[in-house]
Symmetry: C3
Subunit: 354 residues, 3 copies
């Protein structure tokens, strides 16, 4: 990650106030404990501010509201910003642009198999081993990195990136500006069966719907989004989905939701705009998670979650009540012992009554 720049250049890019030297060379970004003498780091809490005098870093981006003791502006540099979170992202983008692999050339790799009826935009890139079936389409500037499968009639919008091994089943649609990481499967059949009337096993419920992934969605690696039964499974614009997440048939996930790693949504779940589900959360069939609700990691949702509330535990309930229950359980043994001691005292006094 050898990228050469200076504290002054970074201050210019961020619009930061420079407290120290503008000419320090910077070639890496690192956490404060592991930063070297040509590294830039970040100070976002008082705890990190106290580490500054002992850090080897040449420079740090710091929120204007924080006090950083022991700074020597003749030797090192602080870059004061209004919003450290955003400044971090802008800085990382600056470095990422210099170290990320260059975009692949547009056009279809000779090892790709593209049906003549498929529509691949001239500025799109279809990499080695990709398969694009009849009637499928790939929009302007989109990249299918390698070994991507687009089934019949599937479509990918503009400026998307589909990483190696992604599978998009027939008729599923991906909007613009989406990123789908390696191994993710969009549009497999949902999990629906009925016992056969003759007792011979299960009948499969055909799935007529597909999957609609709206724009600016990012989906992690090896996740699975099943196609809908009657209508489409929908992932709303701006939503971010982590790795190994399961979204069942006919779910409707709203805009700008967050689904952390290994979340599982059963069938026909509705997740409203801005809701956040922590890692390994499960949500049962046909339930609704309200707008901007937050569900804590590993919770098992068995009831609708009202908009704006925080829930936790299995079965999930309001996080405040859940934490109270957990605290109660932890000191329960002591409380029961105390109760018993008091009863025993009453009982033995009674025995001593005349």
């Amino acid at each position: 990650m050898a990228v050469e720049t200076t504290t002054g250049t970074i201050a210019d890019v961020l619009g930061a106030e420079l407290l120290g030297r503008a000419d320090l060379p910077i070639d890496a970004v690192a956490p404060i404990e592991r930063a070297g003498p040509r590294s830039l780091t970040f100070i976002r809490t008082d705890e990190y501010a106290r580490l500054w005098p002992g850090s080897a870093a040449a420079a740090a981006i710091v929120s204007r509201t924080l006090r950083v003791p022991g700074h020597n502006p003749h030797a090192r540099t602080l870059l004061l910003v209004d919003d450290a979170d955003i400044a971090v992202i802008r800085t990382l983008e600056l470095f990422a642009a210099r170290v990320a692999p260059p975009p692949p050339p547009s056009g279809v790799h000779p090892s790709a198999v593209v049906d003549p009826t498929a529509a691949v935009a001239p500025s799109a890139s279809v990499g080695p081993g990709c398969i694009v079936e009849a009637g499928a389409s790939v929009g302007e500037g989109s990249v299918l990195v390698a070994r991507v499968f687009l089934g019949r009639g599937a479509s990918v919008g503009k400026r998307c990136t589909l990483h190696p091994g992604v599978t998009v089943y027939h008729n599923c649609r991906i909007g613009d500006l989406c990123t789908i990481h390696a191994g993710t499967v969009i549009g497999a059949d949902g999990f629906g069966y009925r016992p056969a009337p003759d007792g011979s096993g299960f009948l499969k419920i055909p799935h007529l719907g597909a999957v609609l992934v709206e724009s600016a969605v990012e989906i992690g690696a090896n996740s699975t989004i099943d196609r809908g039964k009657l209508d489409d499974t929908v992932i709303g614009a701006g939503t971010k989905i982590d790795n190994l997440v399961q979204v069942g048939h006919s779910c409707r996930v709203g805009r700008c939701c967050i689904l952390c790693g290994q979340v599982g949504l059963a069938g026909s779940v509705v997740v409203e705009d801005g809701a956040m589900l922590g890692g390994q959360v499960g949500v049962g069939d046909n339930l609704r998670v309200g707008a901007r609700a937050k569900v804590g990691a590993q919770s098992g949702v068995m009831d609708d979650v009202p908009a704006g509330e925080s829930w936790f535990a299995t079965p999930a309930l309001n996080a405040h009540d859940a934490m109270k229950n957990i605290a109660l359980l932890r000191r329960l043994s002591g409380r029961l012992d105390e109760i018993k001691a008091r009863i025993k005292a009453l009982e033995s006094e009674r025995a001593n009554l005349p």
Copy 2:
């Protein structure tokens, strides 16, 4: 999904009693809230029956035992059936057959790599990017959609579909009429190690077994079924496995079981015929889930589950007891407060005794 048929044709196919017009054009199937004037929908509960007058749907399949108020047979059509569940499946099959992608042509795609000693039935289809190693076989009418890997000596029976990116390791056997969705891995080594006697780390336990998937099994996307240690891991006929499910080495899953999304079976677990495991359930090493037992979502099974019982919670226990415990915990704080108040009353009276 533009498929043109009529209410009369559907009634004929289902053997349904027609209450209304036989000539209404139908080109879609939709849920009652979102159905349009050329849509067929389903009414399976009183709740849905009450939505019928306000729905735009042209027709509905309805169980003969339900009352549907406000039906006008001059304008719209009800199709009365004995078993609505089965009628739904038959109807969806009717539409699916018209909208599903056509089966790929038989034969081996030029981009596939098939060992000369492999046996591919003439009616089978080996799609682009597939790899079929030495001694492997693909039965009559089976389809390897694309990028499927069949290792040495692996076999796929008749009329199976293996979706893109499926990997079947050496010597694993898939029966007839199986469907395996994209990204699923059959036959990776089980997770078995012993500490090395010299303290240098772990020794790997070699896995001599393979995986046997019997007939009419469906496995979802990105699931993993590990090969056995001494004998085979077995998935019984008619069993259905959802996405992202983990089946450990030497497990034996019986016939017609249901394993929902993200279930995890550790090693040598036995799941007997007809058992059902809810989403995200985990079952510990060497345990047995009895025939027709049901384990609720997210449960952690740490003991054998008796046949026919319903279990829930972590550690899982009889669902009745588990729900009682959960209910008790929820009102525990109040009960303890009440107990303390009564003790306090007794104590203060005692203090007032002469």
Copy 3:
């Protein structure tokens, strides 16, 4: 699995004391209940020793310290060893070497796409459908089985095996002697976003780090190891990771750790040397699991776990306390009833006081 050997040969290989005949033909290894007359089995507990007279097995490996009643050395053979665990592994290796598929030929398969700037060792094997991008490298004796993707600048050490469909993103490094099972994804972007200041959704945090997998690591199928934000995500030497495991950005997993199936580590988690996480365990952001700590299956870790301790439950706590809580909850209803009965008795006596 037809491999022909004799009890004498196996005794020689293991350095075992032979109690019975040296000339019995052996062609399989099987569990004691399912062993046939040419099978070798294992006896590692008294329970299994009692099954020996009723087993059809020709021979058994048995720990020298166990008593095996009813053994007839004229008909069958016991092979006494000091360490049965190790003897089992050695025996399985003996059979595995005879039944495993032969290693693929070295060289690059004609269907693979290897950039001219990539460095593939002459003794390495790059199988069908593999893609090796610019600047990537594959060390001596390593095997990319099929459809493996190595991104720009990614490196694989010596004597590794990467199974079908593995994806290694740009700049990630795999050490020597590693095995990565099918479908696993190394180096996808971590899950990091910040709300956009203009309220329009989320800004993506660029990930400058990569993934470093040290030597002798085995990773199961369809697992995902995300790349680091500032520095690398690290998997320490000798660590074993099961299927469908999620390791978040910038995690540092130590040496010789065990991560069972479906474990999920959020971001920047530290797992110290020798720690073991049971199946489906989740660990929250920035937490530390101490050296040699053990976390029971399905636990949700919300606090640092001290070195050497066993923890369990959600939220996880010391396993001893967790099990006490669970036991208490199971008999809580009875204890509360008893307390109430005693209070009632006291109250009714009080009412009878003059």
